[in-house]
Symmetry: C2
Subunit: 139 residues, 2 copies
Amino acid sequence: MRLGITECTSRLITARHGILGTTPADRGPDLVPVCFVATATHAAVPIDTVKPKASTDLRRRRNLVEDPRATLLVEHWDEDWSSLWWVRARLELVAATPSGRLAEWDEALRVKYPPYAGATFADVLVFAITGVTGWSGAG
Amino acid sequence: MRLGITECTSRLITARHGILGTTPADRGPDLVPVCFVATATHAAVPIDTVKPKASTDLRRRRNLVEDPRATLLVEHWDEDWSSLWWVRARLELVAATPSGRLAEWDEALRVKYPPYAGATFADVLVFAITGVTGWSGAG
């Protein structure tokens, strides 16, 4: 069954991780698991220096310069399909986030994820949520 | 660390579910959790009639007519980030699959997923795997 907006938002905010999809011009969609924090209107995805990466000039940032639209999926898998659910948020990159607001996102990320305690971020991608839909196998 | 192709393929084949990304022309990427079966060269995603949906003329099928490229992500989340891993397969829709081969995919899906026992599928999307990459937080 379709989930209402309030339920979608609640599940998005409390989810521990999600899948971020971005769209390069020259190939199929790029999908990557991400840590994030969300409110009813915005989502922030850090480019951290904690998990080892080849570079912090990540493809996802370059994709978003080409096309600022992205999608964040959170979901629950279960072998019992009546327990399945997912929530999909449509996003658009916020071009410039005031530094004070960025500091708040940094802090929210550190509170949500203990391994980020004391961490600094190479970048934080801040998105406006332009729509949210969800589905549940229950009911 | 980067995972080798053999390791990527092994994790893709044994994963119980994945996230399929397709690219509509008019908006950001569509992401949806899917059941699937994979070999080293192909992946098949059913459009089933078991989990309730608004329609079997699904957006993912229409997206793939517009752009046959897709991405399948399988991943493991863990609060211990040294246990994180993901594998991403680049896909391209196979336009026409011989009916005998389709029957084999149907059977493989029923073997992998008990709730599909006795089920028929509205459609099975068959993709060629054009590339695979993976990452693990371990080591």
